[in-house]
Symmetry: C2
Subunit: 338 residues, 2 copies
């Protein structure tokens, strides 16, 4: 029997358990542990784990693979607590949203004979807890993998095996780069979302504003409904990178505000370019580019040319529309300035 321990049976840990059990891997025993006994019992009831452990020591004892699915700051405590009880040759992975500090904690608290391979599944939802866990949560998603220098090749392959069973795609990345990247695409958006909701909610006009709030506002504030402990831990373990991206974002937002106030033709061009680029992103253009050599291929150049041509023709049409408008009694573009 291969024993796998899941420490933390919330949304992520529970979903990993369900994926493992659903994968029908023969000879696999999944042991679960969670501080929250009701979450742990629910994990057992839902079949995410075969057996529950009464404490961390019991959970990791004899386990070949230990998956720590806890909020970032809790990972340190778990590593410290399980360190003395891990089997020689055990593999430890985690799912924390930041990777530099967990890697450092692994170096400090896990014994030399243990392979640490950091992980971060790029999946989740704002509904937390084991009751929202699902085997398919990671299907088709990216799962960042950050092996420690000490991890052996077999350990890395085991974690990739886990990721494959969960239906996700492994992506190797350096810990510091990972934290910079997710600061941009995940932690900054979380701060924006919380700031937007909090700002509008505190308005004295909130009761009049709320009935007008449509799907745009709901989408843009969805991340603010996530687990506050998780949000706190993410920020606490990625202060510099998040601060850096917040500052850059403010500069960009001010640039758009200035265009709105002073140069609306450029604002239109900006919106047009962003729309074309985002549509290309959603269509998965970066997937096509990944396996290519670093120099832009002929196909890339062609694609850039076509997008550039499309952008130019849109700007041209826009200018004609605006000109036609300004033949009226007043200029359309400065109509709001009086």
């Amino acid at each position: 029997m291969d024993r796998v321990a899941i420490i933390g049976t919330g949304l992520i840990g529970g979903s990993i358990g369900l994926a493992l059990k659903g994968g029908k891997v023969t000879g696999l025993e999944v042991i679960g542990f969670d501080d929250d006994r009701s979450s742990l019992n629910e994990a057992k009831k839902r079949g995410a784990v075969d057996r529950t452990a009464g404490n961390l020591r019991e959970a990791v004892s004899g386990a070949r693979l230990v998956i720590v699915a806890a909020p970032p700051l809790a990972v340190r405590q778990v590593f410290e607590d399980i360190g003395p009880h891990l089997s020689e040759g055990a593999i430890v992975t985690d799912t924390a949203s930041t990777k530099a500090l967990p890697a450092r904690w692994a170096g400090e608290y896990l014994p030399a004979g243990v392979s640490y391979v950091g992980g971060h599944p790029m999946a989740g939802k704002e509904q937390q807890g084991i009751k929202n866990a699902e085997a398919g949560l990671f299907q088709g998603k990216t799962w960042a993998v950050v092996p420690s220098a000490r991890a052996n090749e077999a350990a890395v392959q085991s974690v990739i095996g886990l990721i494959t069973i969960a239906g996700a795609e492994a992506l190797f990345v350096d810990a510091d780069e990972h934290d910079q990247y997710v600061a941009a695409i995940s932690h900054l958006p979380l701060m924006m979302s919380a700031a937007l909701f909090s700002l509008v909610r505190q308005s004295p006009s909130w009761d009049d504003i709320a009935p007008l709030a449509a799907s745009g506002f709901k989408d843009m504030t969805r991340l603010a409904s996530g687990d506050p402990r998780m949000a706190h831990d993410i920020m606490a373990t990625n202060v510099d990178a998040v601060g850096h991206w917040i500052d850059r974002f403010i500069v960009e937002l001010q640039r758009l505000r200035d265009l709105m106030q002073e140069n609306r033709k450029s604002l239109f061009r900006q919106f047009s370019e962003t729309q074309l680029q985002r549509d290309a992103f959603v269509a998965g253009d970066w997937k096509k580019r990944q396996p290519l050599a670093e120099a832009p291929s002929a196909k890339d150049a062609m694609s850039s040319m076509l997008l550039g041509g499309l952008l130019s023709s849109r700007v041209e049409k826009f200018e004609k529309d605006m000109e036609r408008g300004s033949r009226g009694r007043r200029g359309v573009l400065d109509d709001d300035e009086d």
Copy 2:
């Protein structure tokens, strides 16, 4: 036969047409006009209009209700062009995302015998055009109604009838207040969305960042895929309110950044409070409050007390967790600072 003219048969105009025709109102003839002939022909083919007009004059001639579903800046030109051809007693409404300027243009360009009742359906999606139109687009949504001083009661009732047929709920609001409110919940989010995508997309590391981008980033940048002409016109007709909310948002984001850097216990409290308030918003708490008297009712006070109690108990548990963590070899909270 009652004749209704729809000027602009894109997503919104087309969806209104489909809702009207699907509503099986007897004796109703819907005439469509659009600068874009292919959009107009598609509207006819899809049954959103009974008949297409060759020009604006033909479209509005004999119409009792004229619905102008054009981008905000185009509304002015349309009002100017149709003004001389409207029937005595005709009702004109529009669907522009801002309401103060269309109201002013109505005063300037529509004849005295015509009732203008501004409108703004709080519905939409980033996929534009008649091909994405659907009869159910407005179902259950709010539709802001801004009658002009000149509009008679029958005209207001006709527009409410249209809104009811479309399945939406009419909400009366003052034009300037409307523009302030939607700046907060719609136009600021649009600017944030465009700024976020543009910022991250221009990063030299974009090719490495993109594979990590999950649903959070996609949701937070969705509005950036909207029609750039529409986005431009919205900003051009709401410069002051949007600028005001952008500036306030930046202050709020900086406040969260400062908490992250200097006072993470307060950051946790902030995340917790925002989560509780947003969950209450999504659950529709404001709906329950609407019909109540302005002074907080006993039920409101109870609800506030319960939420406050929940928040306190969460902060308490968080502090205990953090203390337990800091009993380790180093303080959890300043672990990222060395």
